[in-house]
């Protein structure tokens, strides 16, 4: 038998973030589209000022609201980054490290910006 040296893959980190993001987007994605895209602009079901600045500010300053916003933004981004990275591979763009850095780098950047903004907005 040919002896090979096996290198442990770091994929579980990205796969776990991808999985968490997928789960979250399946659970909350359609609802968020409905609230932000239909219910609030058309003032159906929800009052028109649901997403007014004071309301949203209060939401973002609440610790649970903060966590929710952070998880939605960060995990959605990691999910998308992973999907795009693998789709690039599928259509024959094997940019390797470059594509990896670009995809996951953007997700990381988005995560950091979200974290910074949520902290800067205060409690």
């Amino acid at each position: 038998m040919k002896q090979r040296t096996l290198k442990r893959s770091n994929a579980p980190i990205f796969w776990a973030l991808f999985g968490a993001g997928g789960m979250l987007s399946a659970l909350f994605g359609p609802m968020l589209v409905f609230i932000t895209g239909i219910a609030v602009p058309l003032a159906v079901v929800l009052p028109a000022d649901t997403m007014s600045y004071p309301h949203m500010l209060a939401f973002a300053q609440n610790i649970i609201g903060k966590g929710f916003i952070f998880a939605i933004i960060a995990l959605f981004l990691w999910h998308a980054a992973h999907r795009i990275f693998h789709s690039l591979h599928d259509i024959g763009i094997h940019a390797g490290t470059g594509a990896k850095l670009l995809c996951y780098g953007l997700a990381m950047l988005g995560t950091l910006i979200a974290a910074y903004a949520l902290l800067a907005i205060g409690f």
């Binding site: 038998m1 040919k2 090979r4 096996l6 290198k7 442990r8 893959s9 994929a11 579980p12 980190i13 796969w15 776990a16 693998h86 591979h89 599928d90 094997h94």
Partner: protein
């Protein structure tokens, strides 16, 4: 041959490395009856039209796994695919995708054989057992855990179906993962930690992007995609929990 003998065109991808620069197609006109498989069609070609045509087969009953070919672009066992389902159109027969062609419809299986060896496809006993202890007993549930994955006939249709194996032939791939899983979940086996090293590696399950075509083409309902998926979970758990458990089973 009777007057109403039906004739089907079979287009075969030919390749004889000693004289052909690259594979090329050749069309044969083959008389057939409704009970004839594609395998019988190519056998007719070999017996009556061109004795140099090469292909593998043995059992003619979807047991041995040697007659896999691309039939109209789909990975299929040629002995359980019937000419009547293509007639009156032409049927196209090619060597399995993603493998080097050895000659005509014969692929080079070496890469897969190495993978098969590397998963240690045999029971590694949990503890030494004497003859006096008698046979192993398993409950129906313990049998259920691995039975489906033990039905693999190594036909390699799933590899020909897998786009990720096509892009990276180092990927351990569907059947080898299914077989590896078959031993890992066997109650008699204690070799899981050795095998997980391969699952966790860069050649392991995370090359899979959950396409699922492998399970669709599998003639034995092994569902290799399921084995791959279960092992993504196992591998991720191992990745994150290895620092908590005394022996994580990988480097």
């Amino acid at each position: 041959m009777s007057e109403k003998q039906k004739i089907i065109e079979i287009e075969v991808l030919r390749y004889h490395p000693e004289k052909d620069k690259e594979p090329h197609k050749q069309v044969f006109e083959v008389p057939f009856t409704d009970d004839m498989s594609v395998l019988q069609g190519v056998q007719y070609i070999k017996d009556y039209l061109d004795g140099s045509l090469s292909f593998r087969w043995s059992c003619r009953m979807a047991i041995c796994g040697s007659c896999g070919m691309m039939i109209n672009g789909e990975p299929s066992l040629s002995c359980q695919t019937f000419l009547r389902d293509y007639y009156p159109a032409r049927v196209r027969v090619e060597a399995l995708s993603h493998f080097p062609i050895e000659r005509d419809l014969v692929i080079n299986m070496e890469g897969f054989i190495e993978k098969l060896e590397s998963i240690q496809p045999y029971i590694i006993p949990r503890e030494t057992r004497t003859l006096a202890q008698g046979e192993y007993l398993q409950t129906p549930e313990q049998l259920d855990a691995y039975e489906q994955f033990s039905s693999c006939i190594n036909c390699l249709l799933c590899y020909a179906a897998c786009p990720q194996f096509g892009l990276n032939s180092n990927f351990i791939g569907p059947a080898a993962t299914a077989l590896l899983h078959r031993y890992n979940v066997d109650s008699r086996d204690g070799g899981k930690s050795q095998r997980m090293e391969l699952i966790n590696s860069e050649e392991g399950v995370f090359n899979c992007t959950a396409v699922g075509y492998c399970s669709e083409v599998c003639p034995k309902h092994v569902d290799p995609a399921n084995a791959v998926n279960q092992n993504k979970t196992n591998s991720a758990a191992d990745y994150f929990l290895r620092f908590l458990t005394p022996k994580g089973g990988a480097k």
